[in-house]
């Protein structure tokens, strides 16, 4: 007889079984130990990872598993060497590739069957009821269930792997995939045990997919399991259920035609799954399956309440299906009285415009019928008045006017209650029109508007600069306190006093230096990068200036310079230490610090001087003269730089360019003029000072979210925005849907930097108002208010930019309207932003084709005009209002035109 080692390498399943079944208990126990040791070592060396990828190794694993099943004292131990299943291929390709050959599968089955039924039951239970994804062989599991009449497993893992197993019948991601036929053969090689536990291989009945699917047994159980376990569904379609093939629903529909499923049970399971409100992709799958079942209204009758519930809780796609099914039931008079009103209340509480329109269309069709149903319908229609959509409100009032006479007193009172609730959402004239139909007194507006209004205009509290406080006495407690401040608000300038404190402590004569430094470095939380540099990089031989010196490299260079000073215990007096909490240094302070250096016959390190020049305000004539009078090399550099205008030399201008920054579409962009006279500090590269044309990306290398960046140009925020304008553009660009997550922080940070706000600042805010993320747009609304509060808002410039942006398609009007709506809701902001809104309205009306969301912008303009009592002329508005079209845009244009004309 062949040695076990040899059998494990090249034996057939039959040979292995014959060998193992002849073992005594002692031999079995010894074999179990050997096998376990072998497997542990293989796992330890990582060799087992290759088993599922290479068929020859998979065979070895199958042999090991067979022997382990026979030798193991318990099913749990037997599962410790898994069957060579297909989890790896499943994860990689979303497709089932069965690697276990029929011969080995039969061997596994026979090995399990050699134990008793309880053993097999426990084996199945352990391998399927697990929460974790576990490799199992579906063929083996199904065969065991059938052969031993075991209860159906309930674990998600079983249904997930089973679904993945069958997904081969659809091909990889499409029903007509090339691999379907081969996979079908694998699947249909279903194994069954006869009375002697011999494996019977079923023949492949058909080559067509429908026939292949029809041949799959227990398909209804699989679907029930899939509906029961939301986590099992991705099994069908690989890792991501979002990519499941649409034609799959057609296949399921065809299977219904073939009588493969019990429709009543299937529908009940699908609806029960939908009430769970799983992830959107799962709901889409469940809805598609429900639609594929095509339930009749009589089959849906017991589930009317569930469908009504789905209107409230389901995703849009679920709610739309529920609405359609309810409407179908209503058309056959199967909807209980009161259901329609509940449906209206539920649908109109949602934000899905499509559902609103559909509900109103349902109501309009229903109200034509006489009797109680129609009257009930009018109550439902009145709920629509709470919506802010003018066209829907008008449709509701039209229905009320046409059929309101049918209402009895009780129903009229209910409608009045709904109308009162809608008081704040309705324009005065529409409210009065509805009141005229329904009768009764005018509701007290104030009673319904319970929200208090005491909002300050400034949202962020950044408008007033504060002086940075440096401690008089540096001790350990002070350093800890300063450190705490930098932890709490790292984004501001608070780390500067800490640098000051650390530098002070680093003096050789500092008594508490050792203790303080050791305490600071013991904290594991984030700290100034200078510590990281000092601790991890070492300081010897590291050049401050690298060849690719982006603007933001100044920060790292300064940290390195400081770290060197601390390490050498020769700290220099820091002339770039800010006076104000945005990083700014008063020019007088700078002159004074340079004077102290002159007296001490010292020079500031190059990066420190450079940062000081960037941070300083523009000196007055006297201060400039004082700088020249110092007659030191560094004072002269500073004086010549400021005499030429300092950083104010870098100016911006905007233009529409045919393409920019890699985009092939027209872009509204900013050109940055370079420095005519740059600070000629030895060792500081100046290529960034050349400026940048509008068609190129000025900066924005992904570091614009460094919270300290704004403190480098505290008096030249416009330059900062111009350098990183492309970061803001990306945040609203279709081609970069994932960009912009850091924009809220960047906006807040950059607005600490002051100076005149020009095209770059306004454009950055405009881009962000139409940003990809809600958070970006909210932060942009805040930023707009912040610019206004800082008295830096240029209304004319903003109007020109918004016109250009809408004209070139750079901003999305829907998002812009929503963001402007948020901003104009702030007290006092509507008045300031009215010209911007008017310009945006004029720009959308000037377009040849209607822009998505244009009517939202016009609705916003109407709301502001009504609130402020505006009388104004907006270009193109009268022409748009005069159009005979019945579109939402024209309806809103007429409304706005009427309001502005008074």
């Amino acid at each position: 007889m062949m040695d076990l080692e040899v059998l494990l390498q090249e034996g057939t399943a039959r040979e292995l079984l014959d060998r193992c079944l002849s073992w005594s208990e002692k031999e079995r126990s010894a074999a179990y130990k050997r096998i376990r040791t072998y497997w542990k070592e293989a796992k330890k060396s990582g060799a087992t990872y290759a088993f599922t990828e290479r068929p020859d190794l998979a065979r070895i694993q199958a042999r090991l598993a067979i022997v382990n099943i026979l030798a193991s004292p318990s099913p749990k131990a037997a599962l410790e060497i898994p069957l060579p299943s297909d989890r790896v291929s499943l994860d990689l390709f979303g497709e089932w590739r069965t690697v276990m050959e029929a011969e080995f599968r039969s061997g596994v089955l026979e090995a399990i069957a050699w134990h008793d039924r309880e053993w097999a039951a426990e084996y199945v239970a352990l391998s399927t009821q697990t929460k974790a994804v576990l490799d199992i062989d579906i063929g083996v599991t199904l065969a065991l269930i059938e052969a031993f009449e075991l209860p159906w497993p309930d674990g998600a893992n079983f249904y997930r792997i089973w679904a993945a197993h069958l997904s081969g019948l659809c091909g990889r991601l499409g029903i007509d995939g090339v691999s379907s036929e081969a996979s079908a053969k694998e699947v249909l090689d279903q194994l069954h045990l006869d009375e002697d536990h011999q494996v019977v291989i079923k023949p492949l009945p058909s080559q067509t997919q429908l026939a292949a699917w029809t041949a799959v047994t227990n398909l209804d159980r699989l679907f029930e399991g899939l509906f029961r376990h939301p986590n099992a569904m991705p099994g069908f379609f690989g890792r991501d259920i979002r990519h499941y093939p649409k034609p799959f629903a057609h296949l399921v529909a065809a299977l219904f035609m073939n009588g493969k499923f019990d429709r009543v049970r299937f529908v009940a399971c699908a609806l029960a799954a939908l009430t769970r409100c799983d992830a959107v992709a799962s709901q889409r799958f469940q809805v598609d399956m429900l639609n594929a079942a095509q339930p009749s209204t009589s089959e849906l009758a017991p589930h009317i309440d569930l469908l009504l519930g789905l209107l409230a809780t389901g995703h849009s796609i679920t709610a739309a299906t529920a609405q359609r099914l309810l409407r179908a039931a209503d058309s056959e008079k199967r909807l209980p009285l009161g259901t329609f009103v509940s449906a209206c209340q539920t649908v109109f509480a949602r934000k899905d415009k499509g559902l609103h329109a559909e509900q109103l269309a349902w109501a309009e069709a229903r109200v034509k019928v006489d009797g109680k149903l129609a009257r009930e319908c009018l109550v439902g229609v009145t709920v629509a008045l709470q919506l802010e959509d003018l066209s829907l409100q008008k449709r509701a009032i039209r229905a009320l006017r046409k059929h309101g006479a049918k209402l009895n007193d009780e129903e009229r009172a209910v409608c009045r209650q709904e109308l009162d609730l809608a008081r704040t959402a309705l324009a005065d004239e529409l409210y009065r029109e509805a009141l005229e139909i329904l009768g009764g007194p005018i509701a007290d507006y104030q009673d319904r508007c319970l929200v208090v209004t005491n909002e300050p205009l400034v949202p962020c509290g950044n408008s007033k600069l504060k002086r940075v406080v440096y401690p008089d006495r540096i001790d350990v407690a002070t350093v800890a306190e300063l450190y705490a401040q930098s932890q709490v608000e790292y984004s501001r300038i608070t780390h500067e006093p800490l640098i000051y404190a650390v530098l002070d402590l680093a003096k050789p004569d500092s008594a508490v230096a050792e203790e303080a430094l050791s305490m600071l470095s013991s904290y594991e939380y984030r700290f100034l990068s200078l510590w990281q540099l000092a601790r991890y990089r070492g300081l010897s031989g590291l050049s401050i200036h690298c060849s690719t010196w982006h603007f933001e490299s100044v920060l790292a260079a300064r940290d390195l310079e400081l770290a060197r000073a601390i390490k050498s215990r020769a700290p220099h007096p820091l002339i770039s230490r800010p006076d104000w909490d945005n990083g700014s240094i008063d020019a007088a302070t700078l002159v004074d610090r340079l004077r102290r250096l002159q007296v001490a016959d010292q020079e500031a390190p190059p990066v420190d001087l450079f940062v000081a020049l960037l941070r300083s305000t523009q000196p007055s004539e006297d201060e400039l003269a004082a700088l020249y009078a110092l007659r030191t090399r560094q004072a002269k550099i500073a004086a010549e730089f400021f005499a030429a205008g300092g950083m104010s030399q870098m100016t911006t201008s905007w233009q529409v360019v045919p393409s920019a920054g890699g985009s092939q579409k027209p872009e509204v962009m900013v050109a940055l003029r370079g420095l005519a006279v740059a600070p000629a500090i030895p060792g500081i590269p100046l290529h960034w000072a050349d400026g940048c044309p509008a068609s190129q990306n000025c900066g924005g290398y992904g570091d614009s979210d460094d919270p300290r960046l704004a403190s480098l140009l505290p008096n030249h925020g416009e330059t900062l925005f111009a350098m990183y304008i492309w970061d803001f553009r990306k945040a609203s660009h279709d081609e970069y849907p994932t960009f912009g997550k850091t924009i809220p922080q960047v906006l807040r940070s950059f607005l600490h930097a002051r100076g005149p706000a020009g095209a770059a600042t306004h454009l950055a805010v405009l881009f962000s108002l139409s940003g990809n993320y809600d958070e970006t747009r909210i932060a942009a609304s805040d930023a707009l208010l912040e610019v206004i509060a800082q008295d830096r808002y240029d209304s004319d410039l903003a109007c020109d930019l918004v016109t250009a942006c809408i004209g070139s398609g750079t901003v999305k009007v829907t998002r812009l309207a929503k963001s402007l709506g948020q901003a104009t809701a702030a007290a006092g902001a509507a008045q300031v932003l009215w010209p911007l809104v008017c310009s945006a309205v004029a720009a959308v009306l000037a377009q040849q084709t209607s822009l998505s969301g244009a009517h939202d912008l016009l609705a916003l303009a109407s709301r502001i005009a009504r609130r402020l009592g505006k009388r104004d002329v907006i270009p193109h508005l009268s022409a748009a209002a005069a159009t005979s079209s019945g579109s939402k845009l024209v309806a809103e244009a007429r409304q706005l035109h009427k309001l502005l004309e008074g």
Binding site: G309, R448, V451, V488, Y523, D782
Partner: protein, 447 residues
């Protein structure tokens, strides 16, 4: 109640016009003492749709983990139910422990001819019941029984449902924290149903997980969203944590929002949203940040450091499932000052015996069978502070207090707002997670 079994699964039977719902109870405490499966109510519900939607929202919260943590905590679906004679309170925490939800079914919800009992227990909520609850509509007749159909004695041995009800330890700690946090809230704003729907429709939906963290500013007719705090703004940390209320949107009569005072530099803050429904109230309290569970907030520590166990024991004798605890009456009965009463209530809160009702601005009583030994186990920071104070590790040092803890020395200042310490805990959290042990020790030292 820590590990009890139900007699059967909670169930809902009958057709849509005549529904019978049995909510199975675990072991609980009643005025008569420990009862294996108490019955609190047996009668009709006046607004079945409200009760069903409220329970579903509550259970959805209990089963949701809004933030994925490394250590996944098992969700507990079984709410704590407290019957107080005129109302039934059902309470639960989200699986991540960052959302506290309480459904108060008030007197109008119940049949006037049926009686509501007194006591506290857990009820079984299972997935089939959740699905069945979705089908209950306003017009239906709902007969509710909170408690088993038969008393425990009648059940043959072996017919118990063996699912154990182990109330998570974090729930007990979080119950204590929520009442302490809520008692410091101010009523900030009230929204009408239309304003509420409009606000919900404008909430960001794109963020995954717990959603966006925003600040809300009440402004003419709506709540304006901003990204930074300003005084008077309302924190909304994790907008998706309000998502479960979509089940109730068509039932909401009024929404009240409560929050603590906010400054420009407030990094984050909790808030409570109270939804007034016909005959019921649903209160959601959101933790200051989505990843923060209530159990670690440390809000109760300061009050505990000034209280004694004896005060708690004295007060416990006088409370009996009061829907609103009358502090003045307690003060009169015990002769304690108002501060001492509050301290005593905090001691009781550590064993889950006290909650806070924002609508009525009062504490309420529930009784859970937990011993006071939890005080030591659940509040190690307080115990460490007591050890420091007792060991004489604190001494004055100028205008500060010097606390020597092991090999390290920390400086505590109690004369600033907020009081500060030089330890790593305070540096990281400041006063957002309650005082550090050094601050607590300093307070104990000063008496």
């Amino acid at each position: 109640m820590e590990a009890a079994a139900y007699l059967d699964h909670s169930s809902l039977t009958g057709d849509c016009n005549d529904v019978r719902m049995v909510l199975q109870t675990a072991a609980g405490l009643t005025p008569g003492g420990f009862v294996a499966h108490p019955v609190f109510y047996n009668g009709a519900m006046m607004r079945p749709d409200v009760a069903a939607a409220g329970l579903r929202a509550l259970v959805e919260i209990a089963s949701t983990r809004y933030v994925k943590t490394i250590a996944e905590i098992r969700a507990s679906l079984d709410p704590i139910v407290t019957a107080q004679g005129d109302r039934l309170r059902c309470e639960a925490f989200s699986a991540c422990n960052g959302v506290y939800a309480r459904l108060d079914l008030l007197g109008d919800s119940f049949d006037a001819h049926a009686t509501l009992g007194f006591g506290t227990t857990n009820i079984d909520i299972n997935p089939p019941l959740q699905v069945a609850l979705a089908s209950i509509q306003r017009g239906a007749y709902l007969h509710l029984r909170v408690g088993p159909n038969q008393v425990a004695m009648d059940m043959p041995r072996g017919s118990f449902i063996e699912r154990k009800v182990a109330m998570p330890e974090r729930w007990i700690r979080a119950l204590a924290e929520t009442q302490s946090i809520a008692s410091a809230f101010e009523h900030r704003v009230t929204l009408t149903p239309v304003q509420w729907r409009r606000f919900m429709n404008e909430l960001p939906t794109s963020s995954a997980g717990a959603g966006s963290s925003l600040w809300l500013i009440p402004t003419g007719g709506t709540l304006r969203q901003t990204s930074c705090p300003v005084p008077e703004s309302i924190p909304l940390a994790g907008s998706a944590r309000l998502r479960s209320t979509r089940r109730l949107q068509h039932l909401v009569e009024l929404v009240r929002i409560y929050a603590p005072p906010v400054r420009h530099d407030t990094p984050s803050a909790p808030a409570a949203w109270e939804f007034l429904l016909p005959g019921a109230r649903l209160t959601l309290m959101l933790s200051p940040e989505p990843y923060r569970g209530f159990s670690g907030e440390g809000a109760v520590l300061a009050a505990l450091s000034a209280a004694t166990k004896d005060d708690g024991a004295t007060l416990s004798e006088l409370l009996a499932w009061d829907a609103a605890i009358d502090l003045a009456a307690l003060s009169e009965e015990t002769g304690y000052s108002a501060e001492r009463i509050c301290g005593g209530l905090q001691v009781l809160a550590t064993t889950g015996q006290v909650g806070f009702d924002l609508a009525e601005q009062s504490y309420f009583h529930r009784q859970l069978p937990f011993s006071e030994a939890r005080l030591e186990r659940n509040y190690p920071r307080l115990e460490a502070a007591r050890t420091l104070a007792a060991a004489g590790c604190i001494s004055p040092c100028g205008d500060q207090l010097k606390v020597v803890s092991g090999e390290r020395t920390y400086f505590v200042r109690l004369d600033v707002d907020p009081p500060s310490c030089t330890c790593a805990f305070w540096i990281k959290h400041k006063d957002s997670r309650g005082p550090c042990k050094h601050l607590l020790a300093a307070r104990l030292y000063l008496g």
